[in-house]
Amino acid sequence: LNFSEDQIRQLSPDESSTKAGLQLATPAKWVNAHKHEKALWGACQGSGKEPYSTMIDLQSIAFKCNCPSRKFPCKHGVGLLFLSLKYPNHFKAETELDSIVSDWLNKRDQKTQTAAAKPDKPIDEKAQQKRAEQRVQKVNAGVKELEVWMKDLVRTGIQQIPNNIYSFAANIKARMVDAQATGLVGKLKDIEAIDFYKSGWEEKFISKLSKIYLLIKAYENTSLSEQWQSEIKQLIGWNTPKEEVLNTKPFNDNWLIAGIEKTQVDQLLTEKIWLYGIHSKQFACQMNFYANNQLPQQLFIPGSIIKGDVHFYPAIFPIRCILNQYVTESNLPDIFNESGAIEAMLNTQADRLTLNPFIEQSPFVLTQVYVHFYNHGFLLKDKNHSVFNLKIMPEKAWTIIAFSQGAPINVFGYIQDDAFIIVSFWNQFHFYNMLDL
């Protein structure tokens, strides 16, 4: 795999690491450098007596270095990649991996496999069932209270809520935490996040509130199919264990890393890796959670293609997944050249909502579209002049317009609350993740 300069910059944790990496990208700084189809490794002379040993897993992009840096990847990892780009001939081609590198790669493989085939622990079924029943009781009681709260709200009217935005849902949210209905907590937080100073807040409020009502009514409906009941339970707050997901049938494809999103709430960083199946046109999203500055376990380059297995969480419209056993394949091929994107998107969105009315983020790849400034806001526009609402910060929107230079571009994003949110965009030369702007 050959990395482009842009891709290496994207992998770098920050600007200073990029600069330091570039400074290290000269043969004089490296005591030795080796390449193999699976890995790159080398020894970089630092300020210490012994050179630092740096290695890169090229198949599922990972770095290892014995320097004391807390950055991931460190400047030596970034430097080794830049060195491979600038001085490919400086690397000695190896047919076999160095023993240390081989051990490291094997350990990484084993780690992935053991996660899938975790040995069953002895289970106290009775205690487990008791816990499950207790949880159902807790959730049921919580759901009842939520219903009463919602009805009270509608009975007395919502017009005073903008005067009380920080506390109107505080108690019920805390109650849902106690009831272990974490999914409902998230939905109540969504209501709190509405911009109450903007006109039209009432409609958004009612829409979100009524959908929660629909969800709890669906939860109470025991006549639904088992699959639907499982879907509803997940939305209320039940988690599916990772092991269970990894035991589902894998879905193999060449996946485009369509975009990466990160949101930080208090000490918890949530990372969403959006994938798009090149052959299947299937969307997938792996969510990673990092607490207290924990380092990421996987590194992906937006716009690159990986080949591998995806295990979907069971769902009516499966999106959330776990990526398992993958190798980085190539850079983005020019595969998207359709037009009439928005009409097709609206039709697909209608189909998806018919299939599952609870979809919150409905992903799409749109080709040959423009970001259009209109009446103090921004629209997504295709070649047929069809438009759709865009939710975007003005500076970012102008950045995309400047990037496009008036020509159509491709975007990946999702529809949320009847507006499109762009996660990444590209043309035949460059791929940009919104996070990097």
């Binding site: 009975r155 317009i401 400047a402």
Partner: protein, 497 residues
């Protein structure tokens, strides 16, 4: 129906409950509305309508005018410079951005299109502090300006191009007219007269000052005509020109008044020798035209007679050479005569104004012999100026002067082309900073990084390796490390561009 639902939710079902009659009957039964529970019915109906709306969003067409983007005729900066630029933009590092702009200007390169909105936001949010970046936004910048009314900045090209004086902004027009005045004063006068007609007083006064550039007798008629302008500011600007040059009544009257209040005469000195001295006459009233031309009649300072005040003003209005001619002495003699006066300290600032305004290098030299005025040193040829700086700093070091204005010295030495400072001077600067680390601000240390000669890096290392618990030296060490960082940035930019 949607309006009805929103109204009911806002007011509360206890006050208002709409009829949910237009919901299809069988569907209404299935989803359980109209069952007597108003709140449940309303929430169900709202969910239903919200989903219907999301799933049935109609396709909307928008036919709009697209602005055409003119192809870029200058290359973009490379990836390395782009990364420096981005880091500096994000951290709002004014000094680095200025240096990058200088290098981009020399290399005739522009900012990559994708970062133009970031530059625009920076200029907009920081009250146009970073306006100099706009010249590097290329045609993408102008294209975006047409689309977004908030990007209402003036963008000057880094390329010299033919511009239409009719459509450019006032500031740009001034620059173009100034160039014209230098090359073809006659043509420039026609244009100045034409454009002045439509401008307000402030701008007309500014345009009048252009006539002072490359002034000749041919301009006298036009400038004199402006003495009848309705605006006082324009009249003042015209008088300011006329009082500098002979061949007009304003200048002549000034010289007559000078002769009336001052005279250089010879006096016996030490019995056998003779000495020229200045004799001043009091009680001479200036003519009305002089008052109109800017002369203030009464001095507000204590112990200064009005005739000395008149002389001081004339010294700042009229080139020193012409005053010497009027008093029938040479410049050196006149300066010596003036410097012998007890009033010299009062006259010196007016002489400095004259030296600076008329770029009178001999007068600068004479003044600098008496007193160090940093602003004037810059008017000297570089080598001579460097020597002055060096001497001034050496004297400050020798006398352990902590109130020496190093910032002023540095600023006078900085050039637009970021030329490194003289090595000897830099050594003295470091010695001064070691003695007085707080002599310049933290920002000034950073700026010095861009002017510090790389050959003296070892001197920086010596100072940064000093071990001391003294707060002042710890401060110095930190600031010099920052200076070094900027020196490194400069080196990296120089290699990359």
């Amino acid at each position: 129906m949607k309006k009805e639902l929103i109204k009911a939710c806002l007011l509360g079902t206890q006050r208002y409950m709409p009829e949910l009659t237009d919901m299809p009957g069988p569907l209404a039964d299935v989803i359980g509305i109209n069952n007597g529970d108003n709140e449940a019915s309303l929430l169900t109906a709202a969910a239903f309508y919200s989903l219907m709306q999301s799933a049935g969003t109609p396709e909307i067409k928008l036919l709009s005018v697209e602005y055409e983007l003119v192809a870029e005729n200058l290359p973009h900066v490379n990836k390395q410079i782009e990364s420096f630029l981005l880091a500096a933009l994000k951290q709002k590092e004014d000094i680095v951005l200025q240096y990058l702009c200088y290098k981009m200007g020399v290399a005739k390169q522009i900012i990559p299109a994708i970062w133009v909105p970031t530059v625009f936001s920076l200029v907009k949010n920081e009250r146009k502090q970073f306006q100099y970046l706009l010249s590097f936004c290329g045609s993408t910048g102008k294209w975006l300006q047409k689309q977004n009314p908030e990007y209402n900045f003036e963008i000057n090209d880094i390329d010299t191009i033919e511009e239409d004086l009719e459509i450019v902004t006032f500031e740009r027009r001034m620059v173009l007219l100034e160039e014209k005045r230098k090359k073809a004063p006659g043509e420039a006068n026609e244009l100045i007269s034409r454009f002045m007609q439509n401008e307000p007083a402030d701008k007309r006064a500014l345009m009048t000052t252009l006539l002072g550039i490359n002034y000749s007798e041919q301009d006298t008629v036009l400038v004199t005509s402006l003495l009848n302008d309705k605006s006082k500011k324009v009249r003042e600007a015209a008088y300011a020109i006329l009082r500098q040059f002979p061949g007009n009544p304003v200048f002549d009257t000034f010289m007559q008044h000078l002769s009336a209040i001052a005279e250089v005469v010879e006096e016996r000195h030490l019995l056998i020798s003779k000495k020229q001295v200045l004799k001043m006459k009091s009680g001479v009233k200036p003519e009305k035209i002089l008052i109109e031309a800017g002369l203030v009649e009464i001095c507000s300072e204590k112990n200064i007679n009005d005739e000395w005040y008149h002389l001081a003003q004339i010294l700042s209005f009229v080139p020193f050479k012409r005053i010497a001619e009027a008093l029938k002495v040479n410049e050196l003699n006149l300066f010596n005569i003036l410097s012998d006066q007890s009033y010299f300290n009062f006259l010196a600032p007016y002489l400095a104004i004259s030296a600076e305004k008329f770029e009178d290098v001999p007068l600068v030299r004479l003044l600098l012999k008496k007193q160090i005025i940093f602003g004037l040193i810059a008017l000297l040829p570089k080598q001579e100026a460097d020597q002055f700086y060096l001497n001034a700093l050496s004297a400050a070091l020798q006398n352990k002067e902590t109130n020496f204005n190093l910032t002023q010295l540095l600023r006078s030495n900085y050039t637009e082309t970021f030329q490194p400072l003289d090595e000897q001077l830099c050594k003295k600067i470091l010695a001064f900073l070691k003695m007085h680390p707080y002599g310049i601000s933290a920002q000034e240390y950073k700026l010095l990084g861009f002017y510090f000669p790389a050959s003296l890096e070892y001197e920086l290392d010596n100072l940064t390796n000093l071990n001391s618990d003294e707060y002042a030296l710890i401060y110095l060490k930190n600031q010099l490390l920052e200076l070094k960082r900027y020196l490194e940035i400069k080196k990296s930019i120089n290699i990359s561009i």
